[in-house]
Subunit: 148 residues, 3 copies
């Protein structure tokens, strides 16, 4: 059930030379990172067949003061923002929550090191525990990994 959604400003979809980021590569890196997390017993926390990352550039957005302060500081006014929210099934320990968050945030720090150094950008990583009142899963993906 780990379900990671990334909401971000569309300027990050520009070509890399114009200040964009490799958002497709980020999705893969985050998905791989999630699959490495182990619990206190050394078991893989997230089932391989149920782990996915989905990223969405906004069609319209507004960030902070719109750019004036960044321009005045000589850093440019093209602010970027990335919000990541992982929703995981309830019932995991606080230790596991912390491990999951730290693995995601380490990946973010590496992937966005250049952006953080050179432009005004904010990147938030949050983990929520789901508290759904109904839950159903239909999958022809899970069985692939239970067979192996």
């Amino acid at each position: 059930m780990p379900h990671l959604v990334i909401l971000y400003t569309p300027n990050l979809d520009k070509p890399l030379a114009d200040g964009g980021a490799d958002m497709g590569g980020l999705c893969r890196a985050l998905c791989d990172a999630l699959l490495t997390v182990r619990d206190e017993q050394g078991q893989q926390v997230f089932p391989t067949g149920g782990t996915r990352v989905l990223a969405y550039p906004a069609a319209h957005s507004a960030v902070s003061d719109g750019g004036a302060t960044g321009m005045a500081a000589g850093l440019g006014g093209d602010y970027a923002f990335v919000y990541m929210n992982l929703r995981m099934a309830k019932g995991r320990s606080a230790v596991v929550h912390q491990r999951v968050g730290e693995v995601l945030n380490a990946c973010v720090k590496e992937c966005f090191a250049g952006q953080l150094a050179h432009r005004p950008i904010g990147i938030t990583v949050q983990v929520d525990e789901g508290h759904e009142v109904f839950d159903a899963k239909n999958s022809s993906l899970h069985p692939l990994f239970q067979r192996t």
Copy 2:
């Protein structure tokens, strides 16, 4: 207030012949399904003028191991994922929650029967109860149905 959001991998927006699904038709089917749900007193649970379904293909995504296991199994590596989250107003009974979830999941099972049979795909249906700290509704849609 029922608010159903569908997040999914963009490969489902391909033409049907290339493995896509009719996501527009799915939205309509799910909306119609929501409008059929009755509570323990036989009353329609969701107001017609407040029921809506919004579907979003991701711009970038990563699912599971990226395809290797599916290809090795002869099922192809083009994994798909659909995550559906219904947020409904708080205060409904557990019976109503269950009915709502089951109606949505029955619709999903029918709409995705072919996909589930022929490709690696995961489809999750969750229902959340909203716990908002502020709520305001502005509508020229609701009055249409209160008049009739």
Copy 3:
């Protein structure tokens, strides 16, 4: 941390003359509105460098009965829907929650006055308090405003 996400039907991205709305301008107006909110001590509630608004038209959608009742009423069947959800950090007072919601809703009422008068449209504004189990922020935006 205020994080405002707007999910809406894609018909609002049509040209204004065809019934569309200025969704980019709405994002800016809502962001500016958030920055005006003060708490009981007169302090700005949301940090300038952490405030952002992201808007997403659905690729596919279904609203209410699909248009029949609106057409029968002579108002047209092209229903629109806008759902706004602000997630703010936990720990704020009920007074602050109310102020934040009212500021957003006042902005919505002004921006959509024409739409509400002339077409079937529903606009919901909700504020959630985050209850995340992990939270990390990486930012080169915040420091811009702490310096000034």
